[in-house]
């Protein structure tokens, strides 16, 4: 046998390894279910005008994309409604910018608080409990050899310089469990289980994704107006006959050959 083969007491197995694993699995199950219970979609608190504005932007985009199916006068009428002098996009939009929305709207705050509470706090608390109860001893062995740089990561409370790096303590085992059970849980729950990593990503760019409020409506109005004015209109019916002739000529050529 190799020199560094430690013999670990089986009592450690019975009383630490298995109960710790079971406890973490159960805790993760609990948080998952609490998440599902608590994350009912918040009641949409948009006013009529805001909804109308968002839909106007969508309509203008559609007009640009499919403008070639309608005759010229109809297109011009619609374009004038949106982008003309007294058009819709020249008026000041009613939607508040997302910063104001975040500050004045309490439901968004409450939502974020709920998500944080049911997600991070039980894990932190559990980490502290694990650290308190199961401190100072080695709990298992990693099956592959690691470089000594991993020593402080895997052996938090132990200061033995000669102990093999493959042995780890309960706190590092707890963290490994947290990360590893994501995969196993995504097998059981088919939906998105990876809630903590999403939350961490969201915390890193807080203003990146605005909440239920739309993005800055003023700039969107300006963009749509400029885009509408930039596009030239061409009715497809006018060139339809020539295209049909082309297609038929090609078909006849292909049949001849």
């Amino acid at each position: 046998m190799s020199v560094h083969q430690l013999v670990l007491d089986s009592a450690v197995r019975d009383w630490v390894f298995i109960p710790l694993t079971l406890a973490i699995v159960l805790m993760k199950l609990l948080t998952q279910y609490m998440h599902q219970l608590f994350s009912a979609p918040p009641p949409s608190n948009k006013e009529l005008k805001e909804v109308r504005e968002m839909q106007a932007v969508t309509r203008a985009g559609r007009l640009r994309a499919m403008g070639r199916f309608i005759p010229e006068t109809s297109y011009k009428m619609r374009k004038d409604y949106f982008a003309g002098e007294k058009g819709l996009f020249s008026q000041k939009p009613m939607t508040r910018s997302p910063q104001e929305a975040m500050a004045t709207d309490p439901t968004v705050m409450v939502d974020m608080m709920k998500k944080n509470l049911t997600g991070m706090v039980p894990q932190l608390a559990m980490g502290m409990v694990v650290n308190f109860f199961f401190q100072g001893f080695v709990i298992g062995k990693v099956p592959f050899p690691l470089s000594p740089r991993f020593k402080p990561m895997l052996q938090r409370g132990i200061d033995l310089a000669s102990l093999d790096v493959s042995y780890f303590t309960s706190l590092s085992y707890y963290i490994l469990l947290l990360f590893g059970l994501r995969g196993a849980f995504s097998l059981v729950f088919r939906e998105d289980v990876v809630d903590e990593t999403e939350m961490m990503k969201r915390q890193m760019n807080p203003m990146g994704a605005a909440g239920p409020m739309g993005v800055d409506m003023e700039s969107m109005f300006k963009q749509e107006k400029a885009a509408l004015n930039a596009v030239d209109h061409e009715w497809e019916m006018e060139s339809a006959e020539e295209r049909a002739v082309d297609v038929m000529r090609r078909a006849i050529k292909a049949k001849k050959l």
Binding site: F17, K141, P143, L176, L181, R182, G183, S186, L187
Partner: protein, 113 residues
């Protein structure tokens, strides 16, 4: 197996987004499952050392064989390309970490006791 996505020759590919997403989800699920099971088996066998990871990649390749058996004879029709089928989710952190975790748990339960 998931519905075929259509392909229209020289014109730009018509891809049915729901079918494609469904296919990838099935592949991801299979890969995850195989990672867990192979981790357990390797742990019980007591494999030690870095070559234990080779078994992980072997089992992920076996997933590709399983997909081919299930009906995906031309991967361009079901996934975007051969490379996507071979390498989607093989190096994703969830499968790797699950494999390591279950390998560790069962190795400890059976061999360090």
């Amino acid at each position: 197996m998931a519905p075929k996505k259509q392909q229209k020759g020289k014109l730009d590919d018509l891809i049915n987004p729901f079918a494609l997403k469904n296919n990838y989800q099935a592949l991801g699920f299979l890969r995850n499952f195989v990672a867990v099971i192979s981790g357990i088996v390797i742990g019980i066998c007591g494999v030690v050392g870095w070559h234990g990871f080779i078994y992980h990649f072997v089992s992920q390749l076996a997933c590709v064989a399983a997909m081919v058996l299930k009906g995906c004879t031309k991967p361009a029709n079901y996934f975007v390309s051969w490379n996507n089928l071979l390498f989607y989710g093989v190096f994703s952190s969830t499968t790797l970490l699950s494999y390591i975790l279950f390998w560790m748990i069962f190795y400890n339960l059976c061999h360090v006791f």
